[in-house]
Symmetry: C2
Subunit: 237 residues, 2 copies
C-alpha cells in the first residue's frame, strides 16, 4: 500500500512535469444559400468554469498522428464531418489558456456547405451551427473567441484564393456567389464590379441552364471550372 502510494506520487510528479499537451481546434465555417448568415461550428462546453458556453471542435493530438491528420480525426469524431479541406491558421499557447493545465493548440479552419454537413442529433458532443455574429468573447469557452477571430481574419484575407465556392450547390448563380462573399466579408459589394472580378479569376464557367420558377428574370447558372480544392492546396504550399 505504501509502495503503491509512493508510485502514485512519483507518477503525479511526472505528470506535472509533462502536463503540457498539444491540441487542435477546428474553426468550421458553414454557409447555405438559404441562410444568408455565415455560421460557425461549435460544441457545448461542459468543463468548469465554462459550462454552458460554446467551444470549438478540438481535442488532444495523439502521439502517432500528424497535426493535419489529428485535425481530420477530431472533426470526424466530434462532429461527424469527413473529407474537409482544413488549413492551419495559427498556434495559441498562453500559459493559462486552459484550466486543466498547459495546452498548446494549433488552430485549423475550413469552409463547408451547411446542406452537406448536417449534424447527427444523437451526437454526444452536441455540435451545433451558430451564426458567426452571435459568438462573442462572453459566450465562448477558453480563448476560443480569439481563435475564431484569427480564423475569420485569415478567411477574409484569402477569400480570393480559397475554394469558397464549395460552400455553394453544384450549380449556382452569380448572385448566390456574391451573397456568400458578402456574408464572409460582412460588407455589401457592387454587383457589376463583383461579376467582373470573379469572371476574370477564371475559376467558374457558365452552364446553359437557368433558374426556374422564380418571380423575376431567371439567372444563369455557373459551375466550378476545375478542381479548385486541389488548386488551393497547391497554391498554399
Amino acid at each position: 500500500m505504501i509502495i503503491d502510494e509512493n508510485i502514485n506520487t512519483d507518477l503525479r510528479k511526472i505528470e506535472d512535469q509533462f502536463k503540457s499537451a498539444i491540441s487542435v481546434d477546428c474553426v468550421i465555417f458553414g454557409y447555405d444559400e438559404d441562410y444568408v448568415d455565415l455560421q460557425a461550428l461549435t460544441l457545448d462546453c461542459n468543463m468548469s468554469p465554462y459550462e454552458g458556453q460554446f467551444s470549438l471542435v478540438g481535442d488532444l493530438v495523439q502521439p502517432n498522428e500528424n497535426l493535419d491528420e489529428a485535425a481530420q480525426r477530431i472533426l470526424l469524431e466530434r462532429a461527424g464531418f469527413n473529407d474537409v479541406f482544413l488549413e492551419q491558421v495559427k498556434t495559441f499557447g498562453s500559459i493559462d489558456r486552459h484550466p486543466k493545465g498547459r495546452v498548446i493548440s494549433v488552430a485549423y479552419s475550413a469552409l463547408v456547405k451547411l446542406s452537406e454537413f448536417k449534424i447527427a442529433s444523437e451526437n454526444p458532443h452536441h455540435p451545433s451551427w451558430q451564426p458567426f455574429n452571435h459568438l462573442t468573447e462572453g459566450n465562448m469557452a477558453f480563448d476560443h473567441f480569439e481563435i475564431l477571430q484569427a480564423s475569420i481574419q485569415y478567411l477574409r484575407k484569402h477569400i480570393l484564393t480559397l475554394p469558397v465556392e464549395y460552400m455553394l450547390p453544384n450549380k449556382f448563380t452569380l448572385s448566390q456567389l456574391q451573397s456568400l462573399y458578402e456574408a464572409i466579408l460582412n460588407e455589401p459589394l457592387d454587383k457589376r464590379n463583383f461579376r467582373k472580378k470573379i469572371l476574370k479569376l477564371d475559376i467558374i464557367k457558365e452552364t446553359k441552364e437557368y433558374q426556374k420558377n422564380v418571380a423575376h428574370r431567371p439567372a444563369k447558372l455557373y459551375q466550378l471550372k476545375r478542381n479548385r480544392k486541389k488548386d488551393a492546396k497547391e497554391a498554399i504550399s
Copy 2:
C-alpha cells in the same frame, strides 16, 4: 531494488505516453550593408543522425512560459540575442520530424542587423551566420530546411509591412534600402520604381545629411519616420 525497478518501468511508460514535447525554432535573418547576401542564424547540430549539420535556434518550451516568451528566451540563451521582434510563422508537427520522439515545433522569425548582433565566440552552441543561399535540404538537420523555406516565403510576402529597415544603420541611403530588398526577394528591382513605391509608403523621411568621402555623387541619407516596430506589431494582430 525490485520495487525501484518497477517504479522506473512505470515512469518510463508514462514518459512514453507523454513523449511529445513542444519546441520553438527561430529563423533569424541577418543583413548588413557591406555583406550583400542575406544571412540566416544557425547552430551546429550535434545530435545523431544530424552531426555536423546546421540547425535553427530552437529548444523546448517550458511549462511556465508563453510561446512568444519561449522564443525570446531561447534566442537569448542559445545565441545571446536580446530584444528581437519575433513573429510566429507556422507550426510543424510531423510524427517523425525529431529522432528523439514527438516534438511539435512552432516556428518564429525575425530580422536583425548583423552589425548589432555579433556572435560571442565562446558560445557553447556555436551559433553562426550562414549565407541564406548556402543552406540546403542536405546540410540542415531535422526539417529545418522546410521551416527556413516557410519563413523566407513569409518574409517575402510581407516585406512591405515588416520593419525591414531595422536591418540597416540608423541613417541609410535609398540604394542601401534597395539592396536589402533585393537580397530578401532575390531579384533585381528598378531604381526609379523602387523609390516611388518606398516614398509613397510614407515610412521613411529624408535627413539633411549626405554620404561623405565617396567617389561619386553623395547620396542623401534617410531615417525611419516612426516606431515601425510598434506599427508592425499592431498591424499583425
